[in-house]
């Protein structure tokens, strides 16, 4: 084989690459374009900060206002028995806001750069990765109101909060997979954004967000069909919400914060890595058609 020094820059288009080579390519692109991802995240931050009057303050206000809505809603209508209910649901609102913002940003990440995609060749996979990463910044902002809220419940403040980054990493990995899949699919089906909004809402209410997974056990339907309990446990956000709640809030019975259940988190992490791999292969498979479709 002839190897020339300029080979790095040369390109020959082959017909049908194997899934494994697509995956390898995707990983190489992500690792070699970290700077681009960082710039895209910065640009995103800047946009959010400059669009509105209150700018970055919305990162803090948004989850707080949402919490107030749910607290009013649940205490008036559903008469929740959970003590310290604001903190109970805030532990779910925070990660959920992160995830739902990643979903909507990811849907628009490739489509929103249509002009650029038609004029220069670059690895498009950086776009959903940047969208998912920008979500982390939002989550980090959300920790400020969380800490503020916790001051009202001083006995729940504990070293267990140190688990937060670990749980967040699992969620980050899961959200990257989602972002890659949605960014590519939305190019071909533009109504995905509309669909996603409704799926997210349903998913939120089916997840142990406003209630704990334990309340499931007392339901008659669950007792009759134990399989439903198993299915509920497979929900990534059942795992994540329970973990966040364990370290921020504790147990609904009044138990103080404790370490999260690590096995389901580990399982979710492995499943998410597989998810990223499959989503990347799909993304790389359809990537060459982006310029034609956009």
């Amino acid at each position: 084989m002839f190897i020339s020094p300029s080979q790095m820059a040369s390109r020959r288009v082959s017909a049908n690459p194997s899934p494994l080579s697509l995956l390898r390519e995707a990983l190489a692109e992500i690792s070699s374009r970290q700077r681009l991802i960082a710039y895209l995240v910065q640009a995103d931050m800047k946009k959010r900060g400059s669009d509105t009057v209150l700018g970055n303050l919305w990162w803090i206000l948004d989850p707080l206002l949402q919490m107030v809505v749910y607290v009013v809603f649940v205490t008036i209508l559903a008469r929740s028995s959970e003590p310290d209910y604001p903190l109970f649901i805030f532990a779910a609102i925070l990660p959920w806001k992160w995830y739902s913002s990643v979903v909507s940003d990811a849907c628009g990440s490739v489509v929103g750069r249509a002009g650029l995609i038609r004029q220069i060749a670059f690895p498009k996979i950086v776009l959903p990765i940047a969208a998912a990463t920008a979500g982390v910044v939002g989550f980090a902002w959300g920790l400020i109101p969380l800490l503020g809220l916790m001051l009202f419940y001083p006995d729940r403040i504990s070293v267990q909060l140190a688990w937060l980054p670990v749980i967040a990493i699992v969620q980050y990995v899961f959200s990257i997979g989602t972002a890659i899949l949605l960014a590519a699919a939305n190019v071909f089906f533009r109504d995905l954004g509309n669909v996603a909004g409704h799926v997210l809402r349903l998913w939120w209410f089916l997840s142990p967000s406003l209630y704990s997974l334990a309340t499931f056990d007392s339901l008659k339907e669950i007792k009759d069909h134990p399989i439903l309990r198993e299915i509920a446990g497979l929900n990534p956000f059942a795992v994540l919400f329970e973990a966040y709640r364990a370290v921020i809030y504790g147990d609904s019975g009044g138990g103080l914060p404790h370490a999260p259940d690590l096995l389901p988190l580990a399982e979710l992490l492995v499943a998410s890595l597989v998810f990223i791999a499959l989503a990347s292969i799909f993304f790389k498979r359809v990537e060459p058609d982006f310029a034609k479709v956009l």
Binding site: M1, F2, I3, S4, P5, S6, A9, S10, R11, R12, V13, R33, R35, L36, Y39, L40, A43, K46, K47, S50, G115, L116, I117, R118, Q119, I120, A121, F122, F188, F189, R190, D191, L192, V195, P288, D289, A291, K292, V293
Partner: protein
């Protein structure tokens, strides 16, 4: 393999920079029309035959370093598609493309990189998009800013720029990266007269320093004056390839013939007694 680097380099200069063989690009209109899910579902159910059309077909282009090739033709001939394939933005449906060397090009200048960011930040972002290392972009920054000549606008968000200013910034970035192959689409028509002269000079300079240039343009003077080869594309096919003057002459002939043809048809239709 034990080939000395020097030998490889000298052979690289004789090897063409761009080579396409029987290149074809097919568009699948099922997706390009931006259908919603409902429509595509309906189409799948009703088993419409797939709508496809060839934007390019049987295109063979070879370009050596130092050459500058003009691509001319009427609107919708596939000129921009050809550039997109060469740039690696699009994958050919059939045939092959081989590109040797670092390629750069802004195919539709004026899109910019990010509207919210300043010109300076756009240069950094643009460099990252083009795959430059950050240190390299920062080194090139003064030259890019100088060439774009945007004054104090370099520190204001891109959304405040006029289209000419965007084009200037884009051109400056695309040519500053010292590409081996430069792809330009209608860029010489943008900007004011002064910048047009400046960009022409830059393109000539790049072509002379043994860079390959592929240029899509409607400016026939430019083609005959500064390009050493030209191809005429019509409906995705190469009609003629050769010396710029011959290709331009053929193009003008064919456009005139097509216009005469259309006029004759319109006349015939207008005078047709059955229509009256």
């Amino acid at each position: 393999m034990a080939i000395p680097a020097t030998a490889a380099w000298s052979s690289a200069s004789t090897v063409p920079a761009i080579e396409t063989h029987d290149l074809g690009v097919q568009y699948d209109l099922r997706f390009t029309r931006k259908r919603t899910m409902r429509e595509s579902l309906q189409r799948t159910i009703s088993r419409h035959p797939p709508e496809r059309f060839w934007a390019l077909r049987h295109v063979d282009v070879t370009l050596t370093h130092g050459e500058s090739l003009a691509v001319i033709g009427p609107n919708g001939a596939g000129k921009s598609t050809l550039l997109q394939v060469l740039a690696g933005i699009m994958r050919p449906t059939e045939g092959s493309v081989e590109v040797r060397g670092r390629i750069s090009g802004l195919l539709t200048l004026g899109a910019g990189f990010d509207d919210e960011l300043s010109g300076r930040e756009n240069i950094l972002l643009g460099g990252a998009f083009l795959g430059l290392r950050d240190t390299v972009t920062r080194e090139l920054m003064p030259a890019i800013i100088d060439f774009a000549d945007l004054g104090t606008f370099i520190d204001t968000p891109l959304k405040t720029y006029s289209s000419g200013m965007r084009a200037r910034l884009g051109f400056s970035i695309a040519t500053a990266v010292d590409p081996d192959i430069l792809l330009l689409d209608e860029v010489l028509a943008t900007g004011d007269a002064q910048f047009r002269e400046k960009s022409k000079a830059r393109v000539i300079e790049l072509a002379q320093s043994a860079k390959a240039v592929v240029l899509v343009t409607h400016d026939m003077n430019w083609v005959t004056e500064y390009c050493n080869r030209a191809i005429l594309l019509e409906r995705g096919q190469v009609i003629i390839e050769g010396a710029p003057s011959d290709v331009v002459a053929t193009h003008l002939e064919r456009t005139a013939a097509a216009r005469a043809d259309r006029e004759a048809q319109a006349k015939a239709a207008g005078l047709d007694p059955r229509v009256r």
